[in-house]
């Protein structure tokens, strides 16, 4: 009886163990399946994430390429701008140098115009020479006038001589010829004196007109030089 009981108990125990084992296997299988499912889910998720990361990496690489390209472009632009800036600096330096040159030229033009204005003194000197020439002409006028008076006197004397020769009759015939010659010479002298007087008047007008032209021309040049000086000064003031 005990044996049977023990056998039954053992059988029961084995059955229970078997059942427990089966249940354990089932539970393990379910757990495994669940773990596998979760793992697959995670793997899927990770795969998707990985794909996204790869896409992002690709995008990033593209952006990096673009940025590198932009940087290269910027480098080129910078180089060009540097070159232009260098050229501008050179041009500015040239302009500054030109400005200094212009300033120097303007200063020299103003100084030269100022110096040349003293030419007015030269023109005035020439004009004074005219006064001197005209004084000499006046002296020649006076001498010619005196000569003309003498010639008129000679004409009267020769006429008187002719009258006296006529009174003397045959004895005075030779003297009449001489008196006639003297009168003829006096007439020629009178004509010469008149012609000389006309020449002096022509000379007066020509001398006066010429020297007044020189004097007025000198004033014109002086005024023009003053204008040049003013313009040069204004140009100089603007450059400063």
């Amino acid at each position: 009886m005990i044996e049977q009981y023990l056998l039954a108990a053992s059988a029961g125990a084995v059955a229970t163990a078997m059942l427990a084992l089966i249940l354990h296997k089932l539970h393990s299988a379910r757990t495994l399946a669940r773990f596998q499912s979760e793992t697959n889910g995670r793997i899927h998720t990770l795969t998707q994430t990985n794909a996204q990361q790869n896409a992002l990496i690709d995008q990033g690489q593209q952006e990096i390429q673009k940025l590198e390209s932009s940087i290269a472009q910027l480098h080129d632009d910078l180089a060009k701008q540097s070159k232009i800036a260098g050229e501008d600096r050179a041009a500015m330096a040239a302009l500054v140098e030109d400005k200094e040159n212009f300033l120097d030229h303007a200063r020299r033009i103003a100084a030269e115009a100022s110096r040349l204005k003293s030419l007015a003194a030269t023109f005035e000197r020439w004009h004074e020479q005219m006064i001197s020439l005209m004084t000499q002409n006046q002296d020649m006028h006076a001498k010619n006038h005196e000569l003309s008076s003498i010639v008129k006197h000679v004409v009267i004397v020769s006429l008187n001589a002719s009258i006296e020769a006529a009174r003397a009759g045959n004895a005075g015939r030779g003297f009449a010829v001489v008196a006639g010659e003297v009168r003829a010479l006096a007439a020629r002298s009178e004509e010469l004196s008149r012609s000389y007087r006309d020449s002096l008047h022509r000379n007066d007008l020509t001398t006066t007109a010429t020297f007044q032209d020189i004097q007025a021309g000198g004033k014109m040049i002086t005024a023009s030089l003053s204008s040049v000086e003013v313009l040069a000064d204004q140009f100089q003031a603007r450059l400063h």
Partner: protein, 179 residues
């Protein structure tokens, strides 16, 4: 070489200057009549006052004829104290020439004016010797008794053509250039 417009303008400027500068008082009558020639054969012993305006294109001679008679002396030199008639006339002619110079300046930038000089009227026939392109003379009578004359003689070195505006208001006081 001098266009008819320029000739009329120069003559107009001279007459305007003569009317404004020669009479001693603005209300004095001033009658101006053209003359056939510059010199008056009847008055060879008279003196004239000559002035020159020079430019790059031309030179312009102004000749003023005055009689040294009682009318002229009374009119110009009666109230001038110690100043002689000739000095007074030199000053008046200078003012008159200055007025011409002033009116020419708008048309010719570069002008210069000489100082006046006295010559014998016997010199005037030789103005032709300067080969002028314009030679005009005028008899001027102030207050019916003072007889004067003015001659303008222009020698041009290039064609001259301009139309002067001589309608501008005349200034009663001119600049006095010392000489």
């Amino acid at each position: 070489m001098i266009s008819s417009n320029a000739q009329a303008s120069i003559e107009g400027i001279l007459l305007k200057a003569a009317r404004s500068r020669l009479p001693r008082h603005p209300d004095d009558a001033c009658e101006i009549v053209p003359l056939a020639q510059a010199h008056d054969d009847a008055r060879p012993e008279a003196n004239v006052i000559i002035l020159t305006i020079s430019s790059i294109l031309f030179r312009l001679l102004l000749v003023f004829h005055f009689d040294d008679d009682v009318h002229t002396r009374d009119y110009f030199a009666k109230e001038t104290g110690d100043v002689s008639l000739q000095d007074m006339l030199l000053e008046i002619c200078n003012l008159c020439c200055g007025a011409v110079n002033q009116d020419l300046l708008p048309y010719f930038r570069d002008l210069g004016m000489s100082t006046p000089y006295v010559l014998s009227a016997r010199c005037l026939p030789y103005l032709e010797g300067l080969k002028p392109d314009l030679l005009s003379s005028y008899a001027i009578t102030i207050n019916g008794s003072v007889q004067l004359a003015a001659t303008v003689c222009v020698c041009a070195h290039a064609p001259i053509d301009f139309v002067a505006d001589i309608t501008a208001v005349e200034e009663t006081s001119g600049e006095l250039e010392l000489f």
